[in-house]
């Protein structure tokens, strides 16, 4: 069974049914401090799990953005980049898992305040996978969780990303129709836009989304 080092952001984190060591840190920790703390930890976790809950502040007009968004983002960034640095120092491969509520993809399920944090974390996760590249021994996977999902099912999917390191593992509350509904207005707006001037060749784009490199499709 895999052993995970877990950073928790939020109070409603689902259990993944695995042995976990909790990463404790001061609320006002800086990125540098978090990186150093991760790099100095004893032992050898099988993976690093950033686990995020879906509950957040409701009102858009009476919100402490630093507390709700900027600080947790800072914690996440320090943790995951510290984990990659540690794995590189040890000359080893490994897995960084972002465990995010399905609302990171389907935003209408959470408050706008929480949605900002979740989407920024989703961007961070996709970008880390892009930066590390498909040839790296260090991988990043994004596991979405549903509020209705049981520990056994979530644990099964987390175990699966250890084997396959796929880019996304979707919870059952995310389906084709919802994904198409999110992207349709975006693509319609693009289709209503004219072509810009031709640009110099800047190389391949969106490589991280290549279907040949995202890993197993069906979970």
């Amino acid at each position: 069974m895999s052993r995970l080092l877990i950073m928790e952001l939020g109070s409603d984190i689902p259990s993944v049914g695995m042995k976990v060591d909790h990463f404790e840190f001061p609320r006002d920790a800086t990125i540098t401090q978090l990186r150093q703390q991760v790099q100095a930890l004893p032992g050898k976790p099988d993976g690093y799990l950033l686990a995020v809950g879906g509950r957040g502040h409701d009102s858009i007009e009476e919100v402490d953005w630093q507390h709700e968004v900027i600080r947790p983002l800072r914690h996440a960034f320090g943790f995951v980049t510290g984990a990659v640095r540690r794995l590189r120092e040890q000359g080893e491969g490994g897995l960084i898992i972002f465990l995010l509520p399905s609302a990171a993809l389907i935003p209408s399920r959470v408050s706008t305040v929480r949605s900002v944090l979740l989407r920024a974390l989703l961007g961070m996760a996709e970008a880390l996978r892009a930066e590390l590249g498909s040839a790296s021994a260090i991988n990043t996977s994004i596991v979405f969780h549903a509020s209705c999902e049981g520990e056994a099912e979530l644990g099964r999917r987390v175990s699966q990303v250890f084997k396959l390191a796929q880019m996304y593992s979707l919870s059952t509350d995310i389906d084709e129709q919802q994904l198409r509904e999110y992207f349709s207005p975006l693509l319609a707006a693009i289709d209503a836009t004219s072509a810009g001037p031709p640009l110099p060749d800047i190389g391949p784009m969106a490589v991280v989304y290549d279907l040949n490199s995202i890993g197993a499709a069906h979970t």
């Binding site: 990125i31 920024a120 961007g123 810009g196 640009l199 784009m205 969106a206 989304y209």
Partner: protein, 276 residues
Amino acid sequence: MSHPVHPGNTAFVTGGASGIGLGIAQAMLDAGLNVVVADVRADHLDRAREALAPAGERALCIRLNVGDRDDWRRSREIVEERWRKLHILCLNAGVGVLGSMVESEAADWEWSTAVNLGGVLNGVEAFLPHMRGHGEPAHIIATSSMGGLIVANDGGIYSSAKYGVVALMEGLRRDLAGTSVSASVLCPAAVNTNIFDHERMRPEAFNSGITRDEDELNRAEALARNILSHGRSPREVGAMVYEALVANAPYVFTDNGVRPTLVARRDALLASAGAL
């Protein structure tokens, strides 16, 4: 809901003294609005004052650090004192911080996030209650990026902030449906701006302490300038924003050539759902 783009109304544009912000400011002035051009860079504000002088009293250039909530409070006071009501808020200020997330300095993340995401959050905090309170049609538009919808391998810090901006504007639009205020997000691709020349103007508070390699910096800036110089002009983008505000469009793109990259992300998700 009727739109707020009418002569005599007032717009506020952050990062408004150059690039896309200046293009938006000029489009709003052309439409007869009063415009507050807010920017952190004194050199850009000087040039903007000169460029916008023909608009006379309808253009006001002020200094604003979008990461500073006190600056935002003062900005709101200036608007209320001079024109009483703000109708259009363009949260456009941004800095291009590229490079590895893993190898980055903490200051890189702090600076990018304070401006690219914090600046937008602060703007909403400062002006949304005012805009809702006066009850006239009003609109908030934030500049994200195509990097707010797809990622590249060297822009993670930037993309994370820009993903958050897209989520904020989508959520605001949803939350404010049926009220006098609406929201949109601008996702530019290549536009002929100076966004990747900002490294030399990095504030002391976000100094990483690392001595920059001038040759490398020059090369990176020259490459970015060369690519972006082929992009849309900021005036064109300003006109696109004007049209989007009139139409209350949720999303504004500047180039349909970005379609395949967004489709690639959608298809990666669909494949992961077993739908491809």
